[in-house]
């Protein structure tokens, strides 16, 4: 049993799956509230005049904040695709593993982003606590002009 893979066929079949696009609205209130929750008083995230003085059209998002979905929850699409399948396979203890992000254009208040998530990779690893499944969800964010503003790769660990 110990050598048996915990990757079920159903889990393996998730690799390459795309989520439905999620529309994210970037509002000043959400930016300020997010920065406050971090304890971050950077004026670029709070004061419109300071953001303008720095050359931005409006408040900008702290890198890694993508605004708020116009419906549903902020959880990125990828987790909602893969979460159910992992739990069904008995892997219901799920943790965030980390992120790897690239930023191309600063995201500012007033932007409307479209987020596309893809299950980029699913692999098994042996950890201290036994076998674990690492899922990488790659989310690409486009703004209202069709420009790619950022790519976020999130790793989810299930065991």
């Amino acid at each position: 049993m110990a050598d048996e893979s915990i990757l079920t066929d159903e889990i393996k079949a998730m690799i390459g799956t795309l989520s439905e696009p999620v529309i994210m609205e970037v509002g000043r209130v959400a930016i300020r509230r997010y920065a406050d929750a971090v304890g971050d008083d950077n004026p670029l995230f709070h004061e419109v005049e300071d953001a303008k003085a720095a050359g931005y059209e409006d408040l900008i998002c702290p890198p890694g904040f993508w605004g708020w979905p116009i419906k549903g929850r902020a959880t990125i699409g990828g987790m909602s695709i893969v979460g159910g399948v992992l739990i069904k396979a008995g892997l219901w203890r799920i943790l965030d593993g980390g992120v790897d992000q690239e930023f191309y254009i600063p995201i500012r208040a007033g932007d409307i982003l479209t987020a596309y998530s893809k299950i980029a990779d699913i692999r098994e690893r042996e950890g201290k606590a036994g076998k674990m499944v690492f899922t990488t969800v790659e989310t690409t964010y486009l703004n209202q002009n069709g420009d790619t503003v950022a790519v976020n790769r999130a790793t989810i660990i299930a065991r």
């Binding site: 959400a30 509230r33 997010y34 406050d36 929750a37 971090v38 304890g39 971050d40 950077n42 004026p43 670029l44 300071d50 003085a53 720095a54 050359g55 702290p62 890198p63 890694g64 904040f65 708020w68 929850r73 902020a74 959880t75 203890r93 943790l95 965030d96 593993g97 980390g98 992120v99 790897d100 992000q101 690239e102 930023f103 600063p106 606590a129 790793t155 065991r159």
Partner: protein
């Protein structure tokens, strides 16, 4: 902007960022849940956390990520930009419980730190690569990461 702008020329390999002190509390976890949309009860409910094999409620990895973003964005100033950012949630961190409505119990304090690993000019961008991490109260790096930032250059300004 009150803060002094840092320039590419000011930075040397080995330079340290000013450390950022943070205290993770259960109250902060709830604020973060509301502001980020991550309502996993693992981060605020003892009974649920007991079923997850984490040894209790743990601080959101993404909140520690956001602390590290603050460390970096504080350092690079209004004219700096983050180009790449990565971190791994390697070690669990356990928030302090609340003693009063506003104050946490005594306990651990976390430090976010960073050092310059490399600097280079590429495609006209003045890039600085940094190692960053969150240290727990025992000095263990629970959340190591890296960031590549674009800094303004004094030469480009002239």
């Amino acid at each position: 902007m009150a803060k002094k702008q840092i320039y590419y020329e000011d930075v040397e390999v080995g330079s340290e960022m000013p450390a950022l002190e943070k205290i993770s509390t259960t109250q902060m976890a709830v604020r973060w849940a509301g502001a980020s949309g991550d309502f996993n009860p693992l981060h605020y409910d003892d009974n649920f956390a007991a079923t997850q094999g984490t040894g209790g409620i743990i601080t959101h990895g993404a909140l520690k990520r956001a602390w590290l973003v603050q460390l970096v964005t504080d350092w690079i100033g209004a004219r700096g930009r983050v180009k790449k950012f990565a971190c791994q949630y390697r070690g669990m961190d356990y928030p302090r419980k609340m003693a009063t409505m506003g104050d946490p119990t005594e306990g651990e304090t976390w430090l976010c730190k960073g050092t310059v690993a490399n600097k280079k000019v590429e495609d006209g961008q003045h890039l600085v690569e940094c190692n960053i991490w969150v240290e727990n109260g025992k000095g263990e790096k629970t959340t190591p990461g890296s960031a590549t930032v674009i800094l303004p250059s004094k030469k480009a300004k002239a």
